[in-house]
Symmetry: C2
Subunit: 478 residues, 2 copies
């Protein structure tokens, strides 16, 4: 018998796999033809010096996949049923001779913008570029305990698909009560829809409300996640400037489909929208039929006076979609946020969430419901409010002391970051040379250019390091 295939005992590939691939590739390349007689497992095992079981395993797979066919009494043959035009595909499998035509992206795909490139962490660096919460102070042990409790006790329902795409009802009730207490949001639990963080809330909102060519009004500067989504949805973006008491309403033109605002603590300029401005915006939206997306991303952190009540609670008769997230008050890795929608949007929103990814993980939702129900969330927020306030004061104090008029801090005493304008032409160069990382505000402006502004995150970095970072920025580049 002429040995039809070869095997390599030194290879990592199991021998039965080598036999399988040898035949498959040979058939696809037409080295073997439909109807060719195949040696028996005994013959081939003998010729290759292998156990018969090894060859049999490969033959069974080849038969199951349709490469071999067995005629009772006559033996095994290469299958005749391979299609006439298979060889082109087959040969390519061995020698990729041509390139496929490039895949044409949808218009959505073409409008996605550039790929996300995460910043690597540096060493020896003072990193003021992170806007997220402090992880060191989060009660991870408690959180673990709650997760473990649910992992142990509440098995089947939490491990199965659970009821409602809108989320785990006990959590939705907790969120509704929390928002009523802390934000004067008026809603029932079934208007709360649990999503994977605020980005998904924005994405689903735009999918439901924005058609290609629609106008969407966005704060300028503003949150890039909202702008990138609006552009990907094919919206015409209408930039609205931001003043010290919020959105500059005079910039609003026409009747945009929606306006995205961050009234508690404008991102990134830091202004709180005054009550007067809030009422004006609501009245304006009511007249135009514009939906307001109220993105309350870090409303928990105000360091002077109680938080302002949400637009949502003032907005009778004006559709407000209220967006919040736990990733700023807990930790970034928790992919749970929520959206409070007008009653008429509950069904479409739930359906869109179901079509997008079914539902958010139930186990995390269940642990979070207890975390809130037992008061841990609000306790943690209160502690963080004190901590972040001190850190903000350290930042602002150090900027005054070391840079004086050369640094202007925008916005209210609130949140987890401050927008700082520098009157130092070479501040970028200073940061680079003295190993301070800061986020330029340039990409937060629709023009892509800020007046030498930077967004300094202070929540996740201790006071001493904050002060040291500012001192470095005050050092000239010699």
């Amino acid at each position: 018998m002429r040995v039809p295939i070869v095997v390599d005992r030194g290879s990592d590939v199991p021998l039965h796999r080598q036999i399988y691939e040898g035949w498959r590739d040979g058939i696809l390349a037409r080295r073997f033809r439909g109807g060719d007689k195949v040696p028996s497992t005994r013959e081939l095992a003998g010729a290759l010096g292998l156990s018969r079981a090894t060859v049999t395993a490969a033959y069974e797979q080849l038969s199951a996949e349709g490469y071999f066919e067995t005629m009772h009494g006559a033996g095994t043959f290469v299958c005749r049923e391979l299609p006439d035009d298979a060889p082109t595909v087959g040969r390519k499998a061995l020698r990729p001779a041509f390139r496929a035509a490039p895949v044409a992206l949808s218009r959505f795909g073409q409008r996605l913008g550039t790929a996300y490139a995460p910043q690597p962490s540096g060493t020896g660096l003072i990193d003021l570029s992170r806007f997220g919460p402090d992880l060191e102070t989060f009660p991870l042990r408690l959180w673990r305990r709650l997760l473990v409790r649910h992992l142990r006790d509440a098995q089947p329902p939490l491990f199965a698909h659970g009821g409602d795409a809108g989320g785990y009802m006990p959590l939705r009730r907790q969120i509704a009560a929390y928002l009523a207490r802390s934000r004067a949001v008026h809603c029932d639990a079934d208007q709360v829809i649990v999503v994977n963080g605020s980005q998904q809330a924005l994405d689903i909102s735009m999918r439901l409300l924005v058609d290609t060519g629609d106008e969407v009004a966005l704060e300028d500067p503003g949150y890039p996640g909202a702008r990138q989504l609006a552009l990907a949805h094919g919206a015409r973006v209408q930039p609205v400037r931001v003043t010290s008491d919020g959105l500059h309403l005079a910039d609003l033109r026409g009747s945009p489909r929606l306006v995205h605002v961050t009234p508690s603590h404008q991102f990134p300029k830091g202004a709180s929208m005054s009550l007067a401005r809030r009422l004006e915006l609501l009245e304006w939206a009511r007249r135009r039929g514009t939906v307001i997306i109220e993105d309350d991303y870090d409303s928990e952190y105000r360091y002077s006076g109680p938080p302002l009540p949400a637009l949502q609670g003032l907005a009778d008769g004006v559709p407000v979609v209220y967006v919040g997230t736990f990733s700023n008050v807990m930790f970034r890795g928790i992919r749970i946020g929520y959206v409070v929608v007008p009653r008429e949007l509950v069904a479409p929103f739930t359906r869109a969430k179901w079509l997008a990814d079914r539902q958010s993980p139930l186990l995390d939702q269940a642990a979070l419901a207890v975390f809130m129900g037992e008061g841990h969330l609000e306790r943690h927020v209160r502690r963080m409010r004190r901590l972040y306030r001190s850190r903000r004061e350290a930042l602002v104090g150090a900027l005054e002391r070391h840079l004086g008029d050369d640094a202007v801090v925008h916005g209210d005493a609130a949140g987890m970051h401050a927008l700082v304008g520098f009157r130092v032409a070479d501040v970028r160069e200073r940061a680079r040379r003295h190993a301070v990382r800061m986020t330029s505000a340039d990409p937060y402006y629709l023009s892509g250019r800020s007046p030498n502004e930077f967004i300094l995150g202070f929540a996740a970095i201790d006071e001493r390091t904050i002060v040291e970072g500012v001192k470095r920025l005050a050092l000239r580049v010699s």
Copy 2:
């Protein structure tokens, strides 16, 4: 002093909140006017018989929110700065007199279809309507241990936003290796993108590839999740019938943008696509420039012969998007799936995932990487393969025994469900009367009508109960 507001000591609302709301509502309703003098905290506390601290807390909030303004030396006044057109909003806040115009949905929103309504569980019912895996046999204790290990040891990176929107790299490597071993999928780890289950894989694929009006070819009958998405994206759906060796290629017309197929185990008919058919489909797709979405949702479970290799691994030069999920091999609640994309789609897919919801939860990804790396996943799949095979045999055997020619089982010995055609006109009535729940195949057909077919899930139900359920179906309704 005339007492301007009233409080109710019997109410659950805290007194400071009642004071706050009394003033706020009065101002918004114009019972108090801008410039009105406000009694001092001492005066109001005296008049209401409350502690001064209670009143002060309310006044501070009213000042912070802009309802009150303080003029040094002159006292506190209702703020003059409320906008002229505020009263309409304000009055509505008290008496919702008009209804807002209904919110206009986007075309996507209008095409969503009807809301998702989960089926409640019944008692005393034999439930053959669930297609999911068996939860009882999943090594939950081990899974918990892995989660807890990561909860304990690997804190900061897993609790922060982690590197890449495409997923946790050790998991992506495990998936690539697993797919190479078990499915002959050829890819590098960076072509694997982790998503929240296969539904998100399909959604992002369609967002990237389908424009309104594009043709999308779908199996008929087929997976409703894919059809609903295609319709929501505004695709023109081209139904392709399914035969015993897979897609009926002669039904394909024109050059659809994409074709969604379930070649391992057609959903719901259960056919495996033959090798010949696979090669034909690839060649057809290559000529038309059509992208193939290969949805390999339960390929792990074949009960005769080894699994067929994926289209993806045969498809040199043809763009195949390979979709898989862990919710069928582990448990439904794990919201982790994956998609393997051609190299040129890695960047758009990662970007779209980032815009949709940033990334899938890292903690679950990390635990899963170890679960796979230590061989637990494949061990579990092997055990389930034996278990589900027995359950399928119990179902098929009972149908033969008790219904004979009145029940036709379609498809191969594979998967977690079987499509069964009944030649019993009143089978629905029998199921209802004898408390057997089955899923009608009607909505799986584009026409909405099946030839009296039902999809029977056998994976999550023991053999004795399966047999009992079938016996009940054999009972006439007297």
